[in-house]
Symmetry: C2
Subunit: 81 residues, 2 copies
């Protein structure tokens, strides 16, 4: 069975996010003053061949640890759809 798995990779909350800061000042320059903190990360969708949703989740977690996320700077969240 094929599962669609979504992996969200975001910069750790403790770290500055220069890309987010740049986007925030860009939005403010466009007149959107009510936008506060902005953080920019990655969203990765995988089609995973697995026997169960749980197995698909484990596989996506393995992929995240091995390649998709850098644990020094990022955390990830996996959700199976």
């Amino acid at each position: 069975m094929t599962f669609s798995v979504q992996v969200k990779v975001m910069p750790l909350k403790e770290l500055l996010d220069p890309q987010g800061k740049a986007v925030m000042s860009g939005l403010r320059n466009l007149g959107l003053q009510s936008v506060g903190d902005v953080r920019v990360g990655k969203n990765i969708t995988l089609q995973v061949e697995a026997e169960s949703a749980e197995q698909a989740r484990l596989l996506a977690e393995e992929a995240s640890k091995k390649l998709l996320a850098n644990p020094v700077m990022e955390y990830f969240e996996v959700s199976v759809q």
Copy 2:
């Protein structure tokens, strides 16, 4: 009131996604053969000051149209938390 809004920006389904293809072959080289199609997009979280969740959503949609997403290559989804 401050709302946390999440904007997912993904490459249009009709388009090739070279970054996704690169990630897919990377995962396969690492032994994860059961991963099929991979697509890589952005995930942006905004803290928005607004009177209602609906207003926060409209503001995030405006931000997405003006700056966050390139409609020629990407689509976006807004969700208010």
